[in-house]
Every structure is written in structure tokens, then in C-alpha cells.
Symmetry: D3
Subunit: 132 residues, 6 copies
Amino acid sequence: MFSVTVRDHMMVAHSFTGAVFGPAQRLHGATFVVDATFRRGELDASGIVVDIGAAAELLHAVLGDLTYRNLDDEPDFAGTNTTTEVLARVVADRLARGIRDGALGPGGGDLDGLAVTLHESHVAWASYDRPL
Amino acid sequence: MFSVTVRDHMMVAHSFTGAVFGPAQRLHGATFVVDATFRRGELDASGIVVDIGAAAELLHAVLGDLTYRNLDDEPDFAGTNTTTEVLARVVADRLARGIRDGALGPGGGDLDGLAVTLHESHVAWASYDRPL
Amino acid sequence: MFSVTVRDHMMVAHSFTGAVFGPAQRLHGATFVVDATFRRGELDASGIVVDIGAAAELLHAVLGDLTYRNLDDEPDFAGTNTTTEVLARVVADRLARGIRDGALGPGGGDLDGLAVTLHESHVAWASYDRPL
Amino acid sequence: MFSVTVRDHMMVAHSFTGAVFGPAQRLHGATFVVDATFRRGELDASGIVVDIGAAAELLHAVLGDLTYRNLDDEPDFAGTNTTTEVLARVVADRLARGIRDGALGPGGGDLDGLAVTLHESHVAWASYDRPL
Amino acid sequence: MFSVTVRDHMMVAHSFTGAVFGPAQRLHGATFVVDATFRRGELDASGIVVDIGAAAELLHAVLGDLTYRNLDDEPDFAGTNTTTEVLARVVADRLARGIRDGALGPGGGDLDGLAVTLHESHVAWASYDRPL
Amino acid sequence: MFSVTVRDHMMVAHSFTGAVFGPAQRLHGATFVVDATFRRGELDASGIVVDIGAAAELLHAVLGDLTYRNLDDEPDFAGTNTTTEVLARVVADRLARGIRDGALGPGGGDLDGLAVTLHESHVAWASYDRPL
């Protein structure tokens, strides 16, 4: 099994609903350093999993729709706690949609799976892993 | 599959028995930077794998029983080489016991697995991965 | 010259005023991983710059007054852009006040200077360095 | 499942064939920071996955045959794009051969698998994972 | 004193002349992860050292003239060993020229100094520090 | 001003004397990831600060006299707390002696200064900086 990972980041404001979140119930924010991993059983004829430049652009576009925003105001997240785990799935699912829409070229169809890790600090991170 | 990871550390002395260990047969020590990863198929109603604050406290408590000690003097480890691998399992098994004892609340029962990585330097680390 | 550094973090929301900030004029947020460095010409009789535990507690207390907040709502920052640079100075000046108030014990008076670095992502950080 | 990872690096020149590579079709170079992970179901009698010193030496030897070279001139890679993915497999397969040849001692035969990650920059890396 | 740092990278091939370089006399390559630090005594009216977006663009432009190239073929470096130290100065001097040419706006004229660090691996890096 | 830094590590046991050290008064241990920085005003004719290979070997030799030991038993440290700060000075002073003894060749005489940083964990480190 092969994989390729690209890293980017986003900076968002949000608040959480639920006593379990303690002081994070207040409006606060986070930098998420985001690693997107693309998996494939065999390499293509060029010797790659995906065009790493296209993968970086796709990730940047997905994060561009989230960064520099207050997620509490985004209709997509109404009634949802935008926890690190939830955002990892949001990013992964949007990457998957981009791949289906051809953002990684025809080779994107040969990918087996996708994992997204969001680092919220130097001491905590969350991941979501899904098939393609 | 979702996961959440928290990081902490411990600082211990120990020595190893066996020619394979070379100079590490002498009493020496290590900082272990410890990553504990909690896995779960679906998020709970709050949108989390576990309460990350509770997870960090549980890890800190488990490491608190090991840190600032000479492991050669700990009855729990009599006759055992406290290698990085062995300590990764010790930390994972103690986290699993804490989860069974309710340290992560009722949601702890929905966790599927646990992985613990101990970084012994910038060029070496070991992991232990187990179901829950 | 000796120095000791401790690392902690804070997670805040804020927005900026001024066209130079582009999309960061919107309400967004950041995790700041914060390194506080304490400098001293000579070590004390125990062989330390400062009690590293006390230094970590002081930093944690200073960050505790900022984290999990929307800085746009804090009276201390009314009319101020809470840029990474500005926050580095805020943290440094509050550490300096804590040192003057005895948070690091009498040895705190022997410190020569202080530097604070705030990492806002894996690709950008800012520092403020001041004498004591 | 247990694993042990050791880190080393190599510095190579190469060029790629195919429009997908854009400017990387020109002769350029890379530092690859290489992580080799060795997996095993149970620890040996000493409490280890492998002798970490022997594992580090084996990795260093494998990288020693690649580093400080122009890979375009290496007969082993004639007609092959030495992408990060391809090189991850080359390193993994050469480690596997070394293990079969006894470089990790008899315990090497108890390893279940091997993963190799090559970090090409702070924002991109690739892995290859194989059974043993 | 305030500073702001931005990080980017370049990937080059080169060889060195001189027995001191051992195997690095052969054509090989490197990824340089590049940190550019801009220093200033006081912040501007917006609360910044420089427009961090403009600083990142300037660094990216400077590295764009070097990356994906064989430096042995660049006329600018004829007869020069493009060591990590030498390249740190090249990048710093080109940043300084860009600042003089207005790439950071009029505030660029208030900068006191500049430091550039090139990380050639996880275990070695070099810096060049100069006034402005 | 130019500098070159090389990184290595050591793993030691020790204990501290003094109530300020709390639980670290017990015998424990640490991995110190050690960065040694060599400074010089101008590069030599080869375009380097020092032969980076020789610098790495010198650092490795200095750390080789400390690693895999219980520092409480070392005559050199009788009556001394081997704190991170103290060990940073020990490593720096031994590097300086090695440089005087020619370990970095005649160019070692052109170095202006030396800094040593010991990372004791992911959240704490100490440095010692001295002229040459």
C-alpha cells in the first residue's frame, strides 16, 4: 500500500455546545494544521499515487472555504459542534467529492482511501479515515 | 474511523538486561514523549471521540505513576526490561483499565481501540496498538 | 548566557482592522503555541535559571487569562489589533509583571531578559524580546 | 501489535519524466528524512521488536547506497521515475532483503511487516507499507 | 525587539568542490526548509512587523528562482560552492533587495534586520543574519 | 554573521538536590536532544562555517562521554546538580576544548562563538551561549 500526504492549515473561530466542553463553550478559535493522506494499492505509470501539486491545490481549495471564518455563522454547520473530529470528516468528505469531480485527474479514481488529520495544538490532534 | 490523540511526557531512569542492549545495560534514562490515540467508529452526540480534557487527564495520571522514578526499583517491573516497546504496552494497558473504570465517562465504552507511541529521541520511537 | 524555555498554548478568536489584513479582517481564530524564554547571566546555587515548574505555571496562568476567548470582546484590547506580534508583547509584559510580583521567587530578580514566541501555524511565527 | 521506528536521511539529485511533474522535470534534488517502521505481533524474550541499534545500522546502510548521488545515473533506476513513492518502496524492499539476509538477527524472522515514510519537505511525504 | 518569521522550501541539485566535502563532491541534492525572520524595533500602526502575506510572497518569489534547478548550472553561482551557509546568504541578500525595491511596502524601510535559516535535514541547519 | 547547527542526543539518569526540584529529587532520567551551533563572521574559502561532518563527529564524541550513564556516579559532577542548564554548559565547554585541540581543523580558530541547546521534552529546553 502506498500513500502520499500534503500539509496545509486553516484558522477559524467557533464555539461549542455542551457542558463537556467547559471553557470551549465560549467563542474562541484554532489554527488547524491539516494533513491529507491519499492511499492507493499500486502506483500509476508515472510512479505516483497522485499528482502531489494537484493534491495540494485541492486541499488548499477545501480549506479556503473554511479558513478566516467564524464557523458558528456558517449555514453548513448550523446545529453542529465543529469539533476537531467533525472538521476532519468535513475536510475528508469534501476532498472525496473533489476527487469524484476530477480534481486529481482520472488517476483519482484509483485511490483506495483518504485520511485527514487536524492538529489543533502541539499536544492534541484528531483524524478521520475513510474509503474512496 | 475517527481518532483523537493527546501528548504528554515522562522522565525515567532504568537499565536493561541482555547483551543486545550494549551500553544501555548501564543505568541511564529517557524522556518519553507519549502520544495516546483513542479510536471510535462514530462520534457521540456532542461530535467527539472522547472528552479531550478527560483523555489528557487520564494520560497524565497514568504517566504520573511512572515519571521521576528509577523503573529498576518498581515492583511492577521486577524481572522485566522496561524497553520503549514494553512501556508503550504498560501505558496502553493502564489507559484501558482507566477507561473501563470510567475515567472517560460512559462514552469510553464506545471506543474501539487505543494506540500508544513513546518517542525516546528525535530518531527513534515505539508503538503498541490494542483493541478495547 | 543561559536560558530556559517552556512551551504552552492558547486558542483565541479575533478579527483585525485594516486592509492589509485581507480575509483576516473577518472574525477568525488561532491556536498560538507559546514559547517563553528566560535569560540569566549566571546560574543560581541550585544550578538553574529559574524553577522550570514555576515558570511553566506562570506561563500557564498568563495564557489562562487569554485562552478560550474572543479577544475582540476583551476591554484590554479595545482599539488594538491583537496580531501575533502584539500578543507576543502582551504575554511577555504579563510574564515580566508576574516575575516582579515574585511568581518565580527571589531568583526572578536575577533574570536579564525574556523572549516570547507565538507560533500561529507550521509556517509562521512572531517573537518579542525584552530586558527585565 | 508492536512497532519500532528509526529515522535517518539521504540527499539525492534526480529528474522526472512526464508533464505531470511540471518544473520537477528539470534536474533538482531532495533531502528525504526517512522513517522505517518494523512491526511484530509479540515482543521477544528481551522485550523488544528488533535490536534498535541493528535496525538503525541497517537503515543507514540501505540509505548509504542512495545518498549523495544523482539517481538519474544509477543503473538500478534506468527508465524509472524515482518519485518519493517509488523510493519509499525501494528502501522498504532493500530493508526486507537485509532482514532476510539476517541483518536484524534471527528475531528478524518474526517481523510481520515494514513501513517506510520519506519526508520530502515540511509539507509533503509518502509511505510504502508491506508485509514481511 | 519584534520579529516575524515565515517558512517555505526549495529543492535543488548541486555538487561541491573540495576534499572537505567527501561524498558531497558528487552531484546530489537537498530540500532546504527556509525560515526568513524580519526584525523591527517597534510595530507599525496596524500592530505588525511586516504584512506577513507580503513577506511569504517575497520569500516564495526568491525561492522560486532557485528551486527545481541544478545550481551547478546557474551562472550566478559559477565558481561558488552553494553550501547551506552560502545559500542562506543568497536568500537573505535577495530578500533585502526585494525589501529595498518595495516588496514589503513602505514599512519595509523600518526593518532593522533579517535572518535566514536553511534546514538541510532533521539534524543540520545553517543561518545567516544581517542588518537592513 | 553565519552559523551552522548539528543535532544529536544523549540518554542519562540523574537526581537533583534541593526542595525546588520536587519529584525530580528522586533518581530519574532524560533524553536530551542536543543542538550545537557554531558561529563565524565570515565563511572560509570553501564556503562553510565548519566542516559539518567534523562538527557532528565532535558533538557525538562529547555526548558519548555522557550518554548511557547515571550522572550521579560521575566524578566530574560530584556535588553538582546536573540540570539541563548545567549540562548545556558542560557540552559547550567540552566542544570549545575540542575546537581548541583541533577537532574542527585550523578553521575552528576562526569561530566566534558557540551555543548549545538541550531539549529535555517537547515542552522545555535550555541553552548556554559562549564566545570562543
